[in-house]
Symmetry: C2
Subunit: 364 residues, 2 copies
């Protein structure tokens, strides 16, 4: 193999069977046919997946590292996830745990164009943690969403994103919504940045980016697992002035390790910021999983820019200090429902959140 993508699977097995099971995974994720029926020596040496090592991680789970030929991925992000987990995703004894990305794939996909620095610059923030909230519920009119955004901006929030359920629906069509919210924020003299959620097929999303840009917007949200990796990477390449916030919808992360999918792969494709469910909220990730997601988003990855971790999902202002102690300042805190629950006190609640972040003393 000239260049290899090293993929780590966690496999439920007994010690007697794991070697054979590992080999079937290597075959399934490469040639997908009986190896003994292959004539070509170069395919056997260069293309058939190879089991590199197997480790017993306890409780009947084995860690299996498999080398796949980088050339089987080509230049296509959809083919990347297909090679990593395509058919094997259907086997319920296997979790896709991690992957070591060769530099040539990192160069192909490019990673974040703006990353943490770009997101801080957009809202005039220094090295502190950023703040974010979400516009919801779906069903509100553009005018009502605009009014909500206006009040959050009055509270001094950095980023306001659409709820990921806001698509191009009759009650708030994309263009009317973007127009209303951009207008509501204009002339406030604040640095608040509105992040609309894109939906639809690639062409529809392209049109949405054009419209958003014309309304002065420079950051958008996408759901990589819904739009598809190939289309995501394409949209990012075509709009290098735009920063992208990745949403985990349909990540079904129990079958792909969240640090790999959300932290590493979303970043590899070019997400500048990555929303994920924080521990102790509405989702079941452990503190360890969350720490690893952030580490993958921020750590060394083939020389790519870091992506900004955005832990979310039922967070509250009361947890700001704890979260900043846990994550440090390279982060964007996203509080949605808890701010909206303040209703007529939305501005004050937003300001409390913003001040808690700005006033936090790190490393006490």
């Amino acid at each position: 193999m000239r260049s290899a993508l090293l993929v780590i699977y966690r496999v439920r097995s007994d010690a007697r069977s794991i070697e054979a099971r590992a080999k079937t995974i290597a075959v399934e994720q490469s040639v997908e046919m009986p190896v003994e029926a292959i004539d070509e020596d170069t395919i056997k040496s260069d293309i058939v997946g190879r089991v590199v090592d197997i480790g017993d991680v306890g409780n009947g789970i084995f860690s299996v590292r498999i080398a796949l030929a980088t050339e089987t991925v080509g230049c296509d992000a959809g083919q990347l996830i297909n090679m990593l987990f395509g058919n094997t995703s259907i086997h319920d004894d296997v979790v896709l745990h991690d992957a070591e990305i060769p530099d040539e794939l990192a160069a192909t996909f490019g990673g974040p164009r703006h990353g943490i620095r770009g997101l801080r610059e957009r809202v005039g923030a220094g090295a502190r943690a950023l703040t974010c909230s979400a516009l919801k519920p779906q069903g509100l009119s553009p005018a009502r969403l605009g009014a909500l955004a206006h009040r959050m901006a009055e509270g001094g929030i950095d980023y306001i994103k659409d709820d990921h359920g806001l698509a191009d629906q009759s009650f708030s069509p994309f263009e009317a919504r973007v127009e209303a919210i951009a207008t509501a924020l204009r002339g406030l003299g604040s640095n608040t940045n509105y992040v609309p959620s894109l939906s639809g097929d690639l062409d529809v999303m392209r049109g949405q980016v054009v419209y958003a840009r014309s309304a002065g917007i420079d950051t958008v949200m996408v759901a990589p697992m819904i739009m598809g990796f190939s289309n995501l990477n394409r949209l990012m390449r075509e709009n290098s002035d735009i920063a992208f916030l990745a949403h985990p919808a349909m990540a079904g992360a129990a079958r792909i390790a969240p640090p790999l999918l959300l932290g590493k792969l979303f970043r590899l494709l070019g997400a500048d910021a990555i929303v994920y469910p924080n521990h102790g909220g509405r989702f079941g990730y452990s503190p360890g999983t969350c720490r690893l997601i952030a580490a993958e988003a921020l750590g060394i990855l083939n020389g790519l820019k870091p992506a900004l971790p955005v832990p979310a999902g039922g967070m509250t202002t009361e947890r700001v200090d704890e979260m900043l102690d846990f994550y440090g300042a390279d982060i964007m805190l996203l509080i949605g429902g808890a701010l909206l629950s303040a209703r007529e006190k939305l501005v004050e609640e937003t300001a409390d959140f913003v001040n808690a972040v700005k006033g936090h003393r790190y490393g006490r």
Copy 2:
């Protein structure tokens, strides 16, 4: 709610907690915020998801039926899967089990354009089961793939599909591959139909369809979970002359019930034929699951055309009679590796497979 999408989840819970858990799912999949913070009565009545009923299916699993407003889906297939399972896919106590599709969504997405009848017509077959094999391994040159296809066609096979691992790789770029295989089949005087696998983003796939059509191809393969539902539905609408074979790669079906995802949703989006792992092969689906997948593909669904079930994944000619007894004649049998293992006897092995299907006596 004017019109509802009824979604059935299977939830791991105890009897004491299931009612509250069901409500949180209904909220997560709709407004995604505290309901008591919503002012608008119309949102509370029309948009907030509603728990319709809860049933105890035993072993600590409950069936929860939730009504979601159809208007939250709009006309976007990506938003359909987002509403069905977006954030809830991240909760590992929930499996998306089924959905009752309202007629307006069926009309929006359209279902199969060609379906079973169109696939039979393409290869001049009557009411019998169809036959299919796969070109692999990846790594073979276009010429070698063309030679394989030629021999399978000599054996009289109906459909030859690319392996789902064949993308646009250096060893067999899409256009060179299609050209070589189409040329290899031309002038054989057989009805064998070649089905190339599309990959890449929407624009790349559009180009691939144009190229394939110019080579005389009228059927292609796609992986809906990799390209994204929106882009799939778009590509199908734009190419209504082409029949689409859906591949289950990345279906990770343990978290979405296979009959719903593969049988119903892939069909709803427009797949004319649906590849899925048959029981007793390389994947772990039970006979019951496989029967349900076929039933969803074939049964009544909002007046949409039936889609052709294509059970696959490690099948052999020895199993043809058993499979036809199990499934009946509305089916395409796909045998890949087992034919390729015959090597120099590929034509004969293919002919054996074809003759087993053509000679089968149903309902003995």
